[in-house]
């Protein structure tokens, strides 16, 4: 579904992202982990054509993202609060996204009905603009909005951050369900190794912009990741 070829991004001579080849097949639940500055958000931004790669290209479906806009119709994403429109209420925001994705109000309402638990009665019908919601509730709105209109590719940057424990469990349930669907490709980045190993079939570790691990998730994966990240600490101390 997604094909990354010879991708690199350089800012003022500093390379922040360098991936020779990475393929994400259709239906995969793909997890991206790495420390701050490893290039996770840069990769996602390049994937969404929000930054221009220095070299290489990314293909989403059949098209290169920086050459055609055709990928937009089957891709949904939530990176940060700049994907929310602050002066709309949650309903208005969902309907707006729905309209852009060819869904009428009834379709959107039907989808939202399934997330009553997730919203915990704090989002819908509250007569509050999105800018006045808490960070966690804003995130819930952004995540659910990506599910409108049955996209084939869903990209979520740090979806677990800022959420309360109950919501984190519920979100895991939601992502697992998406992962089981063989038509939907899910890309998730996270700092939480436990969550990400639980929901993703495959985990890629980025460090300083390069892929350093590419793991098929198994029983041993969490242990492997924990050793990897704690070892890195000791290396850093020695240096």
């Amino acid at each position: 579904m997604i094909h990354i070829h010879d991708l690199s991004k350089t800012y003022n001579g500093v390379t922040v992202l360098k991936i020779e080849e990475l393929n994400i097949p259709k239906g995969e639940a793909f997890g991206l982990v790495g420390n701050n500055g490893a290039g996770k958000t840069t990769l996602f931004s390049a994937l969404l054509d929000l930054i221009r790669p220095t070299t290489g290209y990314i293909q989403n479906g059949e098209v290169k993202v920086n050459e055609s806009e055709a990928w937009k119709s089957h891709t949904a994403s939530f990176i940060d609060e700049s994907f929310l429109i602050g002066y709309l209420t949650a309903e208005e925001y969902f309907y707006f996204i729905g309209e852009l994705r060819g869904q009428n109000k009834a379709d959107v309402d039907a989808l939202l009905a399934g997330f009553a638990d997730f919203f915990n009665d704090e989002i819908l019908g509250k007569r509050k603009y999105l800018r006045d919601l808490s960070k966690g509730n804003q995130k819930k709105v952004g995540i659910v909005a990506t599910l409108i209109g049955n996209p084939d590719v869903i990209i979520l940057d740090e979806p677990f951050a800022n959420l309360d424990p109950t919501t984190q469990f519920r979100l895991k349930g939601i992502i697992k369900k998406l992962a089981q669907d063989t038509d939907i490709t899910v890309l998730v980045s996270s700092h939480d190794l436990i969550h990400v190993t639980e929901v993703c079939e495959r985990i890629v570790v980025l460090e300083k912009g390069s892929v350093v691990r590419d793991i098929r998730t198994s029983e041993a994966t969490l242990k492997e990741l924990e050793t990897y990240f704690s070892k890195e600490d000791t290396v850093a101390e020695n240096v």
């Binding site: 937009k72 994403s77 603009y129």
Partner: protein, 489 residues
């Protein structure tokens, strides 16, 4: 302690994103400041001699009209000056005395440009008074009294902060008095003027405004000290959300989703609401030209100029900043299933609809003869046909994020001012004037108007072609725009 505050101020000024952009901008900012200083100083000196020449007693005349001066000052302060609330938050948990923080915040409002600028009027004026042999003691007490009045305004503004209704009501009352005076029904100025004259006549009278200022300061101080908590004075007010049904817009097809959004954007954000007020102000701007009040404005070319502004108020205040209005969620717009052209078309539509409404509302200029309205009508057509596109094109180069909730900088956002936008502004105004001149000097005004209107209609005809061009510019600028919008002040 004060040293720390000043140090922070210094850094926040010189490190602000707007200031660091480029050297040309800095020069323009400096020139702008010098311009205002020059205007005020000249007015200060000129007021005396001008009034004397007109056979009026300068000081008394100034005193009579001071009330209007002060009201305008208050309005300007209300719309432009803000309490520096945001900068206070990080200081709360640092060992600063809270009382000092309030002192500093209030002190900061006192030394702001909006107060200092008046010194450039009143000091030269007072100096002229002294030279002309007015009594020095009386001049000084009058001067102190007026200064105190300016600071009373400053603190009224501090208290008003969000009471728009009150300000509008107050302004309306004063405007009504102004109208009554203009039509010679009732002149209120001798009564209020007597007070300002009193500041000169009675040496002791200045104590009253000075005491009022001191009291205001104390009240403001305790008011803010009590409210120096995140959930009180420093809270950003959460508005009760209003929902509205804009389904009637659906007839515009795909662009309707954006139109609905833009209407909500304008209604629900302070900054964009100001643009509506500005459009109304622009609607009356033409009065300066058509009433023949100002001599240098009274010629046919300036009338076309006025026509462009009267019908294009919304275009200049809102359209100019497309797509910056969407800056806070631009990445969303760029990743959603949106065709650039639809997005641009919706913005264009909004500008055209608003221009059409302004043009219709401008019909009251018929009072000044058909030629006045003809200028506005053809100006409107030109705005819709040509300038609507030019504004969008210019928008591609304005990469200043707009903070929707803040009202500051609504007038002439200096940081959005760069050479490219300046170049793009020129055809908006000069092209119609040139076209008119061409007609005016060959066959007369009617041909002039016809040429301007034709240019506008031609713009409509080439709409699709124009959109293709604009779209490619937006696409080329896309990454730079996204990166620029990420930078917050």
């Amino acid at each position: 302690m004060i040293k720390h505050f000043l140090n922070l101020e210094w850094k926040s000024f010189f490190r602000s994103a707007a200031f660091q952009t480029n050297i040309i901008l800095k020069i323009f900012m400096a020139l702008g400041a010098l311009y205002f200083i020059g205007i005020f100083s000249m007015a200060g000196v000129g007021a005396y001699f001008g009034l004397e020449k007109a056979g009026l007693e300068p000081l008394q005349t100034v005193n009579r009209f001071l009330i209007y001066y002060l009201v305008v000052d208050l309005l300007i302060k209300y719309f432009l000056q803000k309490m520096p609330v945001v900068n206070i938050k990080p200081l709360l948990i640092i060992p600063f005395k809270k009382s000092k923080i309030v002192d500093f915040a209030l002190g900061k409002t006192m030394v702001s440009f909006f107060n200092c600028i008046h010194a450039f009027f009143f000091i030269p004026f007072s100096v002229v008074l002294l030279i002309k042999g007015y009594d020095p003691l009386h001049v000084i007490t009058w001067h102190i009294g007026i200064l105190a009045m300016i600071y009373i305004n400053n603190f009224i503004n501090v208290f008003l902060n969000d009471a728009l209704a009150l300000v509008v009501g107050f302004a309306t009352v004063i405007a009504a008095f102004g109208a009554l005076q203009y039509y010679e029904v009732f002149d209120v100025t001798p009564y209020i003027g007597a007070y300002f004259q009193g500041l000169y006549d009675y040496v002791w009278l200045f104590i009253i405004p000075v005491v009022v200022v001191v009291i205001f300061y104390k009240v403001a101080h305790s008011f803010f000290l009590r409210r120096l908590y995140l959930d009180a004075g420093l809270a950003t007010k959460a508005q009760m959300a209003s929902t509205e049904n804009l389904d009637w817009l659906d007839r515009f097809g795909k662009t309707a989703s954006f139109l609905k959004n833009d209407i909500k954007l304008i209604k629900r954000n302070k900054r964009s609401r100001t643009t509506l007020i500005m459009s109304v102000v622009f609607l009356f701007y033409g009065l300066l030209f058509f009433s023949g009040g100002i001599e240098s404005y009274d010629n046919p070319f300036m009338k076309i100029f006025a026509g462009i502004f009267v019908s294009g108020g919304f275009m200049f205040s809102f359209g100019q900043f497309v797509p910056s209005w969407d800056s806070s969620y631009y990445p969303l717009m760029m990743t959603q299933n949106i065709k650039y052209q639809e997005y641009l078309k919706s913005k264009w539509m909004l500008v055209v609809i608003a221009t059409a409404i302004s043009t219709v509302l401008g019909a009251f200029y018929l009072y000044f003869g058909w030629e006045a309205y003809a200028a506005i009508l053809v100006g409107g057509i030109f705005n819709m046909g040509v300038n609507g596109h030019v504004v969008l094109l210019g928008g591609a180069y304005i990469k200043t994020p707009i903070d929707l909730t803040s009202n500051k900088k609504a007038f002439g956002d200096s940081s959005s001012f760069n050479v490219k936008t300046l170049l793009i502004t020129v055809p908006k105004l000069l092209l119609p004037i040139a076209l008119y001149a061409l007609g005016h000097f060959t066959l007369g005004p009617v041909l002039g108007y016809a040429l301007v209107a034709l240019a506008g209609l031609a713009g409509f005809a080439f709409r699709d072609f124009m959109f293709k061009k604009i779209e490619s510019v937006y696409k080329a600028e896309k990454y730079k725009t996204i990166a620029a919008y990420k930078q917050k002040n």
